[in-house]
Assembly symmetry: C2
Homo-oligomer: 269 residues x 2
């Protein structure tokens, strides 16, 4: 009998989130994993975001694209941001349109609104606004990376409304390779962060299981276009989760592992 | 005695708005007119938006940049939008930052929110929303051109907040070469418009005098970053002018020339 599970194509499948989705989606979806480099230990196709005809062939027949491939560093310089995030995202949406793929989930970023955090930090406020930052807050990118993800959201909205795609943009929280939010800051964090790691991660952690659930909800939701944040059940959340719950059905299941430790970040481990 | 008038550099000075500003700013500012092609009948410099070092030299010493150079057609294809509007605007802001130019006025566009118009048109509503569309309405671009102008606004905000520039983004109404809004639609209008020309122009017309005043206000305003619409005193405005008045001090002075004619667009001229 034919396999009737939806065919989901994942770009940037070799990355951290790509690996999480490849593992956890294997039962629910047929997967076509794309990356610019061969995927060690997985069946996949190599295709570069610069190659629009190649992308169109690679996404043909898919029911949805999860677009993860990007320059993912907040410190990424303009040439990389331009090529991977601006041109690359255009090519993915254009390939979807040309190939008739009806749905795209775009890995956006909280760095589209990262400048709000700097205000909170410089005002010596706790990193929780009285009202969490929601999808309607005017974008205030904190980096060229954040600008490029904001561009991707604009482009997604245009394709959704002009070309009849369904698109969900996810402003993803902090996903850690170890999945343990008590780990020390990853390299490079201090270069852009406005708050100490131990403070910020208590607002932004997204577990592997919740990450996969967030993307699953985005793939299944009956919406034309949405932007939503995704974090786990963290003690000091400062992004809105209500919109993700209402429009996508996303509910965080993983709780902060050790509240006592988390509340006193200065205590020894 | 030294000329103490501020030095304003204008990119895309050969265009319609460039010519309007060059004529009307000559008394208040020292002007440095830039364009990729030589400016007939005017003193100017040729510089291409692709040429970042050339741009940095061309804006050095200026008190402000008015950035008009762009692919200005709503129907512009991706390669042109990418080169002129995405990369070009990055180069202008980066040149401003490197050269220490403290202020930029960016010619944005109502096409950043153009998809709202299509809703009104398809709902057979009059082209006036009960509340005019303001600067806080979530962007809904109607074209790749609109996406690129929304990108420019995001980039401007990043530069304003991260690099201490003052930036005003103007969502400019419809400026006509003849300056007469009773003229027929310009070529290409029907390709994208959701409303008949005679209906839309009654909401969007911006006279030459008001256009120059809008840019003058943006150059003088004591603001870090703003987005504002600009139209003349039109009979069926559907974009907010209150924010431009409050933050920039802009007040439209030119009124629709013939209200009777305008209210019945089907009547013979």
């Amino acid at each position: 009998m034919a396999d009737r599970r939806p065919l989901v194509t994942i770009t940037g499948a070799s990355g951290l989130i790509g690996g999480i989705l490849a593992d956890r989606f294997a039962a629910s979806y047929r997967l076509r994993l794309l990356d610019r480099a061969p995927l060690p230990g997985r069946l996949g196709q190599t295709v570069d975001l610069e190659d629009l005809p190649g992308l169109e062939r690679a996404v043909a027949g898919a029911d949805a694209i999860v677009h993860l491939a990007a320059a993912t560093s907040v410190a990424a310089a303009w040439p990389e941001v331009l090529g991977s995030n601006v041109v690359g995202t255009y090519h993915v949406l254009e390939a979807a349109r040309m190939a008739g793929v009806p749905r795209v989930v775009f890995a956006s970023s909280n760095h589209v609104v990262g400048m709000y955090e700097r205000d909170w930090a410089s005002a010596a406020e706790r990193p929780r606004s009285p009202t969490p930052l929601d999808h309607l807050a005017p974008p205030r990118p904190d980096s060229l990376y954040g600008v490029s993800k904001g561009f991707g959201e604009l482009l997604c909205r245009y394709y959704a409304e002009a070309h009849d795609l369904r698109v969900v943009c996810l402003r993803i929280g902090t996903v850690l390779r170890s999945n343990d939010p008590r780990d020390p800051a990853p390299p490079g964090f201090d270069a852009w962060a406005a708050m100490p790691w131990e403070v910020r991660i208590r607002g932004t952690w997204l577990s592997h299981r919740d990450c996969a659930e967030l993307f699953r909800c985005a793939l299944e939701a009956d919406v034309r276009f949405e932007v939503a944040y995704g974090v786990s059940d963290v003690p000091h959340r400062f992004w809105d989760l209500e919109h993700a719950r209402r429009t996508l059905g996303y509910v965080a299941r993983d709780r902060w592992p050790d509240e006592t430790l988390a509340l006193d970040a200065s205590s020894p481990r």
